[in-house]
Point group: C2
Amino acid sequence: MATEIKPDDARIIAGFERFYEALRRLTPRSELSLTAASTLRRLERSGPHRLSELYAPEGVSQPAMTQLVTRLEREGLARRSSDPADGRVVIVSITEEGRDAVARRRDGRARALAELLEQLPEDEHAALLAALPALQRLGDLIID
Amino acid sequence: MATEIKPDDARIIAGFERFYEALRRLTPRSELSLTAASTLRRLERSGPHRLSELYAPEGVSQPAMTQLVTRLEREGLARRSSDPADGRVVIVSITEEGRDAVARRRDGRARALAELLEQLPEDEHAALLAALPALQRLGDLIID
DNA sequence: TGATTTATATCACTGGCTTATACAGATATC
DNA sequence: GATATCTGTATAAGCCAGTGATATAAATCA
């Protein structure tokens, strides 16, 4: 009962909820967990990171990230190296195999979505395009 | 290399991906797992179901659903009952406490989203409203 | 009746998270 | 410069949530 939610916003939110559910269903059991995929994408997007730079943005504990990196390393998707300037530090980077895994995941979902988008009437398709800047901005407001 | 994805579709898909990531981040550690929440929503939306009607749509195995229902029951969020017509069957239904849990989860995310929506410029807000039918239709195409 | 099918449960295991704690390397203090 | 503290990562123990294989009980069919 704190703040009131405007009716239009409520409609948008309900739409998002349903859509989120749908998207989730579109990525069945992948080879990558949500955190694993997100971490690999980050490594791909912005290069090698210290382990300590990874866990907070992913919203997990430091031991969880240590363990995730261990699993990723075991599967050949990421690599540990050391910082010559600081012996405590572990630098994590993505491998070629890791890039492939990310691409496969992205592609699978993209193909499924593209197929659906093709089924939309032209005006709805256009409406989605028009809503992209808003989605982008919302994403920016939420992430990092 | 199967089907080609049109550039506009690729843009929409990239926007979705980012937005999905953002939404995921908006629901931190809840009291409910993704499957638990989704199952409870289903029970709330369309009433009691047999266990066997629940696991496939949720995309988990039958033992996983048995265990989930056991946990939900233990936490007072769902209830098992039997089908008088078939002694093997377990009917699962949501409790009042379960409805409350679903509502709390929905509310938490709704409030966070509403706050963000308020920060959007008017035209982007309008673009989201205009895109709702498309989101709705996409959701329908994907779910069930 | 007896065999088979169906609905759910149990078992043993793995992955992915948590908190608490250990430990090695870096930095600071005296 | 030796010692204490801080920082970055790892390890340990435990829980939750999933898996496949299998057990069990009720229903159905020959």
